[in-house]
């Protein structure tokens, strides 16, 4: 497990515990007590640290390489996953994975940005930064869901849409705009979960949803704190200031009425206990879906519009 810079004392305790655990196998009894004591201390320290993470620290947690990614959630929460590929224009973009699947038996369309977990898969998925073809695939999947009355579940985790010359030439902006439009046109329930980083247009393209949930330590912003700092502070070194100023935490966004719910993470963050966070995400999606499935599809669309039209009426207290 990679430890973040603010987890230094936790890392030290974990190293100590590790060391002791190795000794205890040689039969000394009181060492087990010591290990238990350290474990308790780690737990308390994690709890305290994660209860008051600063926005900049949340940025680090949201991007933690061991944090469960879209594919991990798809594998854990869905059955019968049948990946679908391609935009029917130019390419298959593995930055957005998606397809048909079942959620608790219910046929759905699921998609999300996948960041990859090692060098090879990160390159394959372009670090979760989709190109126009990725967003055109998303549009295609949303239209498919609409045609067959399948709810749509999206897992948002991207630093942003891929910035590149060819992506611009192929209409990155148009692809994102059409993807937002596709979300708004679909007469089926749409649930989005920001599982890590919700990076601007690249995120909203698949997160214009009836219910948008965020993990407790996920972030969602119009620009990355680094990008914001380099523009407004003229130095990326002010990223922490930007992170605070942007109000990109789940807690702030809930107050602003931009998101509908926060999914509590296990102590020490989602990456420390993937099974627990996956169960929590599953329960939240299930609750949202049950509620939305009772609505009439045309009401769903009207309410979705209304929800986004009403945004901005709530400030922070």
């Amino acid at each position: 497990m990679l430890n973040l810079d603010f987890e230094q004392s936790i890392a030290e305790l974990e190293a100590k515990k590790e060391e002791l655990s190795r000794v205890s196998s040689s039969g000394e009894i009181n060492i087990a007590d010591e290990v238990a004591r350290i474990e308790k201390k780690i737990e308390r320290l994690l709890k305290d640290t994660y209860a008051k993470l600063t926005p900049a620290q949340k940025v680090q947690v949201a991007r933690h390489p061991n944090r469960p990614h879209a594919k991990d959630y798809i594998d854990a929460l869905f059955t019968d996953f049948q990946p679908l590929a391609g935009d029917r224009h130019y390419a298959e973009d593995a930055a957005i994975i998606g397809g048909l699947a079942r959620f608790k038996g219910q046929a759905v369309v699921v998609m999300g940005q996948e960041r990859g977990h090692d060098t090879e898969s990160r390159v394959k998925h372009n670090f979760g930064m989709a190109k126009p073809e990725g967003y055109r695939k998303a549009q295609r999947l949303m239209a498919l869901a609409d045609r067959f009355h399948l709810p749509i579940i999206t897992l948002v985790d991207t630093a942003g849409a891929f910035p590149g010359v060819q992506a611009e030439e192929r209409g990155q902006a148009e692809a994102i705009a059409k993807s937002i439009e596709s979300c708004l046109r679909a007469a089926v329930p749409i649930i989005s979960v920001v599982i890590g980083e919700g990076g601007s247009g690249g995120a909203i393209a698949i997160a214009t949803a009836d219910r948008v949930y965020m993990l407790e330590h996920a972030i969602y912003s119009v620009i990355s704190p680094e990008g914001c700092a380099s523009i407004l502070w003229r130095s990326a070194a002010n990223a922490a200031d930007a992170a605070a100023a942007l109000r990109l935490t789940a807690q702030d966004l809930k107050q602003l009425g931009v998101i509908d719910g926060i999914i509590e993470e296990p102590v020490g963050g989602a990456h420390r206990d993937p099974a627990t966070i996956q169960a929590a995400v599953s329960a939240m999606i299930d609750a949202g879906l049950q509620e939305l499935l009772s609505r009439h599809p045309s009401a769903l669309k009207a309410e979705r519009r209304q929800k986004f039209l009403a945004m901005g009426s709530k400030g922070l207290s």
Binding site: D80, S182, S298
Partner: protein, 307 residues
């Protein structure tokens, strides 16, 4: 693979034995040159045991492979005007047709069957490449229209399995008119809210790709299948460049966004069953009323997808 060993394998074997002549028991793999015993090849769904090369299936082998228990009802192709242009190249089209009918034992290059896949009512239209290169003329076009309408009437999914060199030159402009006609056919299936799946088999080229074969809700291609609009030789001589490795093969098409799934033939039926099962089991929400689709109609999915 129980369905395979229990039903399809013996059926295909029986079929192959029926049509085989004793001196034709061995066949050379066109990809790896291995000599293959035809009986083994049939038992392996016409996939080379040495290199995995997928050979072409006859349309009846295809239907037996895909339908549950290999069982289906075949529907005859509609009767069409024969040789409307009185076409003649080095040979009269009427004579070519006579030969093809005699050789293949069917009226034209398409077979229509209805049955179930994974329990889901499905109509399949499968091409016969052995019948004048699976070319699409009026009879094939009418067959696609009839098969699509049968699917609508039976509230069944529609699966097209092209294996075709393209439009049938000998029917001139009337074969070109099969492009819009087959597109209308699959539009009718979509308007009825039924799934339309294309199984791209080797080869799918020319006018067939430029019409119904590229408009599926889901595109499944068989491994290594040649799929494209213009022929590789035509492209090469036009642009005077050598073409990239794997050009116009199923895997290449997938990388380029045209195909959803590339499968080994042994997984084809299960994949189809899974996709159809998922598409045909949408929830009854909003009080169980039929959902009106924002994507249907003139500004519908095709517009969003094709721009």
């Amino acid at each position: 693979m129980n369905w395979l060993s229990n039903f399809v394998r013996p059926k295909i074997r029986a079929l192959v034995q029926k049509r085989d002549v004793p001196d034709n028991l061995w066949l050379k793999c066109s990809n790896c040159d291995a000599m293959l015993f035809q009986r083994d090849l049939a038992a392996n769904m016409q996939v080379c045991q040495h290199c995995g090369h997928h050979m072409r299936l006859s349309p009846t082998e295809r239907l037996e492979l895909l339908f549950d228990e290999g069982k289906y009802t075949e529907h005859p192709l509609p009767k069409v005007l024969a040789d409307p242009l009185k076409f003649r190249d080095q040979k009269r089209y009427a004579d070519r047709m006579k030969d093809a009918v005699a050789k293949q034992g069917r009226s034209d290059a398409l077979v229509i069957g209805d049955g179930t896949i994974g329990g889901i009512p499905t109509v399949i239209a499968a091409f016969d490449f052995g019948f004048m290169g699976g070319s699409m003329g009026m009879a094939v076009g009418d067959g696609i229209v009839a098969a699509a309408q049968l699917a609508v009437q039976k509230k069944a999914a529609f699966v097209a399995v092209p294996s075709s060199g393209g439009a049938r030159m000998q029917e001139g402009i009337l074969s070109l008119m099969q492009l819009p006609r087959t597109v209308i056919a699959v539009e009718q299936v979509k308007e009825a809210g039924l799934p339309y799946i294309v199984v791209l088999a080797d080869p799918t080229t020319g006018g067939v790709t430029a019409s119904f074969a590229m408009l599926g809700d889901v595109h499944i291609a068989e491994r290594g299948a040649l799929i494209g609009f213009a022929g590789a030789r035509v492209i090469e001589s036009t642009i005077r460049e050598t073409l990239p490795e794997g050009f116009q093969r199923a895997e290449y098409l997938m990388d380029h966004g045209m195909v959803d799934i590339v499968v080994h033939r042994k997984d084809l039926r299960d994949t189809l069953a899974r996709v159809l099962g998922l598409l045909m089991s949408g929830p009854k929400f909003g009080g169980g009323k039929k959902v009106e689709s924002a994507f249907a109609g003139p500004h519908g999915a095709t517009q969003i997808v094709l721009r």
